[in-house]
Subunit: 233 residues, 2 copies
DNA sequence: GAGTGGTCTAGACCACTGT
DNA sequence: CAGTGGTCTAGACCACTCC
């Protein structure tokens, strides 16, 4: 029961959340419409709207025009995770960041990469391999293909000084991206670079970025053993 | 240059995004304040506010009272990923879902679990191990500890019929959670369950949930080799 | 202290969609 | 067609923080 007016959308959100969690409003049930809640809470409809929208974004409510607002039956756990620039991630943890370019090779990408990037048969690309270090210890191996048709300017960049990632975020804004997280075993090439044993389980992030419908870059980051990606919900 | 009024916050967002991506507004630069933009775009300040807030949420703008709004220098890639109920994930992919309870053991948790869950020394808990299958093939091994002090009712549930996860989402709403993603090698116990070879790299999700400051459950999900977690940005 | 974003309000109209 | 959420507006006040 509400005694005094709820004046902020956060307060409204908290009260609605309480009713969901206390099962006052059962999963799947229709909740009162915005005008009714605004009246009950003693605030404007826009305030209720803001609160309910925030809860819908978090996956706790399902809202549809005319149909009304329902408590989600299967609350989806929605986690937001920041994918930081490696330099930032390492420096935020209080370590010194170092970077070393291993390879920089113009050339045709292998078939699997070409397909993932949807490049034509004879497309030119730039292959970059690099090692990122935290306090001098290997942190992650970067294996990247860059579509030089979209960002020709990168061919003139000295990637020994500035990582491809940092150049790209500054000069090649993307409109769309996808990310894959997976586990992979360290092979003979990767293991020594990461000071790991062949066969060690590595955490891998594979990321593609696109400008409209054209691939900019595809990168595979293989992290040293022990890496964890953390997020709060 | 804007010729006709931008009437929706999405239109305002698109125009601002265009200026960021075209570097009309350089990274780190201060952009006009809300009143000025509202005037230029021919809409209300609230509309501009909504658009800029959405972009700030996506990590493309930094906003501070009095200081104004700046283009983020290092655009953070923020990915939202849904952590579905396993049954849903498997059925969404068009497979048949099966579930098999391997173990159900009341008892004291080991020290590392107790510490992660911040349980007192002699706390009672319920240990559950289960296998989730897709089309009859092992999909993930679940290794879970449940704090029976918080959800005593689960002791009466027949976990051979209903997975602990599904019972918990319906009966123990949590206020806070954390998630860790990592890679681990299959050990002698896990490998046969997942039809994997010992040493295979497995994708692992470790999730803790809390009601206020009391741990509800801690679960470790070890996925069969080849699993990928995907998200679009 | 003053400038900027954060939010609330009351009212209005629009857009979608279930019946 | 009617009910519900989605959004816009104009104006107001507040809260934070830089100077």
């Amino acid at each position: 029961m509400i005694t005094s007016p709820l004046r902020s959308w956060q307060a409204v959100q908290a009260e609605v959340l309480r009713r969901i969690q206390s099962r006052t409003w059962q999963p799947g049930a229709l909740i009162p419409h915005e005008v009714a809640l605004a009246e009950e809470f003693g605030c404007a409809r826009a305030t209720v709207n803001r609160a309910l929208q925030a809860l819908a974004d978090r996956g706790l409510l399902d809202r549809r025009r005319k149909a009304g607002t329902r408590v989600a039956t299967l609350p989806v756990r929605r986690a937001t995770l920041d994918i930081p620039i490696l330099r930032q991630e390492i420096e935020n943890r209080g370590h010194r960041y170092d970077y070393s370019l291993l390879k920089r090779d113009p050339g045709a990408p292998p078939a699997d990469v070409r397909i993932r990037m949807r490049l034509p048969e004879e497309a030119a690309a730039l292959h970059v391999e690099a090692l990122h270090l935290a306090d001098g210890r290997p942190y992650v191996v970067e294996d990247r293909w860059i579509n030089t048709a979209v960002v020709p300017a990168i061919q003139a960049v000295d990637l020994a000084q500035l990582s491809a990632n940092e150049w790209l975020v500054a000069h090649a804004p993307f409109t769309r991206g996808d990310v894959n997280f997976m586990a992979a075993s360290a092979d003979e090439t990767l293991a020594p670079l990461l000071q790991a044993k062949p066969g060690d389980a590595l955490f891998v992030i594979e990321r593609g970025t696109w400008a409209e419908e054209r691939a900019i870059t595809l990168v595979r980051l293989s992290f040293a053993p022990g890496y964890r990606l953390y997020t709060a919900v």
